[in-house]
């Protein structure tokens, strides 16, 4: 169907995309600006002078100084960066090992009670952290996991959203395909590894990107369960950087932004597919 494109919606959409991009633009250009330029532009924000804050669309004297300072001169920063990486990777590995088979079992094996299990998973999936915070605190305490990075890893590994998402993808594989393999004498294990996993790759990929973004972005969980600063992920460290070090603040934030953005640009299709699948009809 051909539609005419109206001027009014075009202008609105163009304007909105511009507004959407501005924060990211500021974050990126800020990291390449010199400290003096930032101070000059933003003096009203952190020393309460009377003028208004300003921003250079492009840095007047682009420099890598802040980035270099973060990368070379701040060991504390590195520790937290690696904490973030460790947490995200452990969560992903745990989900790949435990959630993928479970989703396959729920979607494909004749297990009694799987309907009830699925309902339970969906209910748990809908519970926000505000509800889960205290229950998880109790279990982490009794397992002596508080104040370790496992306190944020394990609850995420056993969050039920990945299972739900993968279940949707696995459910969409036509039964005839599996039936044919069974007739050829393939065992259930082989069917899983040679049909389920390869066909389910888009699903697994969307699970990975959604989980990574979630883990990389985690704030409430480490804030509640981890007290030792050297175990903190980057997301808790960044807000602590003061305005006097604004250049470093921008650079440190950029290092957190870049992995997520690169992944996003690389896997945008999988991300969209995953979102669409999680919302599709049953």
């Amino acid at each position: 169907m051909k539609k005419r494109i109206g001027i009014f919606p075009s202008v609105i959409t163009a304007l909105l995309t511009l507004i959407l991009v501005i924060p990211v633009w500021i974050a990126v250009t800020g990291s390449f600006s010199a400290q003096w330029e930032l101070e000059e532009n933003l003096a009203p924000v952190f020393s309460n002078t009377q003028e208004m804050a300003a921003w250079s669309v492009l840095p007047a004297a682009p420099t890598l100084r802040s980035l270099v300072r973060v990368l070379l001169d701040s060991p504390g920063y590195f520790v937290m960066f690696w904490n973030s990486v460790k947490i995200a990777l452990c969560i992903l590995v745990g989900q790949l090992l435990l959630d993928v088979p479970a989703a396959w079992a729920l979607a494909r094996f004749p297990i009694s009670g799987k309907k009830q299990i699925m309902s339970l998973y969906i209910i748990l999936m809908l519970m926000p952290f505000q509800v889960l915070m205290f229950p998880q605190y109790l279990i982490l305490q009794s397992w002596n996991l508080l104040d370790t990075i496992w306190a944020v890893i394990l609850p995420s590994v056993f969050s039920t959203f990945p299972v739900f998402l993968l279940y949707r993808f696995f459910k969409a594989i036509p039964e005839e395909l599996l039936e044919a393999a069974r007739l050829d004498g393939a065992g259930e294990l082989r069917i899983f590894f040679q049909i389920g996993v390869p066909i389910g790759i888009p699903g697994i990929a969307s699970m990975c990107i959604l989980s990574f973004l979630d883990a990389w972005n985690m704030i409430e969980q480490p804030m509640t369960y981890i007290k030792t600063k050297s175990l903190w992920p980057l997301s808790l460290f960044l807000p602590e950087i003061g305005m006097e070090e604004i250049g470093v603040g921008f650079a440190a934030a950029l290092m957190m932004l870049v992995p997520a953005l690169l992944l996003f640009m690389d896997c945008k299709e999988y991300l969209e597919q995953g979102i669409a699948m999680s919302g599709g009809k049953e």
């Binding site: 800020g30 959630d99 279990i139 299972v163 972005n217 409430e220 604004i246 997520a260 969209e272």
Partner: protein, 287 residues
Amino acid sequence: MKWNLHRKIKMQRLLYLAFLLPNLLGVLNFSLIPMVEVLIRSFQSAIGENWVGLQNYERVLHNPAFQIAFLNTLRFVSVCIPLLTVLSLGLAVFIQSIPHIGSFVRGIFLMPMAVPAASVVLVWKILFHDRGLINHALDCLGGNSIDWMGSGAAFWMMVMSYLWKNLGYTIVLWTAGLATIPDSIYEAAQVDGATSWQSFLYITMPNLRGTAFTITVMSLLNSFKVFREAWLVAGDYPHESMYLLQHLYNNWFRELDFDKIAAASVMTAAVIFLLIGVLRKAWDKEE
């Protein structure tokens, strides 16, 4: 032969269990069982563990901080969800009609989802400061500066960052819903002389009912995450208009007010459960 078959079935059962059990046990252990424990604790006192009936609930409901946080959360949800749903539906329909660059534009809207809240804190602070960039822009346009951090406008700052973050996600969900409506229906309607506005009203809208349900539920859940932005920008004790349930829970947590947290968690879960149930009923009835 018979023994062999028997053994095969047994092996298969083991395999099923090996697939499912590790995850199921983890879920039970890390979510369901402690949730039940919290439910029980909500009827006990934190010290001594004796039964106190509904006393914890009463104390929470009479707590002024809880009332503020609850009302703010409620207000936030009832402002954001309609705003997000309508805006994103309009954008989804429009973006779908743009040739060539449609998917690129959708990508831009989705991008904020990949931006970690912590990496744009500084940006939010600069934008929303008293003499920050937004007020500067308002000034240039001849408007009045807004006291973003120290007045009720703080609430709207949260609304904006919520929309910023969630528009793309919701657009993708709508687009997926739109894609399931076959073009032939629209073509038939066009032949019958329907205007595009009529097509939208009588074909698109009814077909998107299921999607609308999902989107409402998802937006509801995502609205609980706006605490991140609120906390990053304004810390533990923000302006009253952006004081949310999570702030309150964190404070109770620090003060080890576990009986209050238990009761409040149970109530939050119950309200969410109820809301989703009501939504589901409403949608089922219409279908």
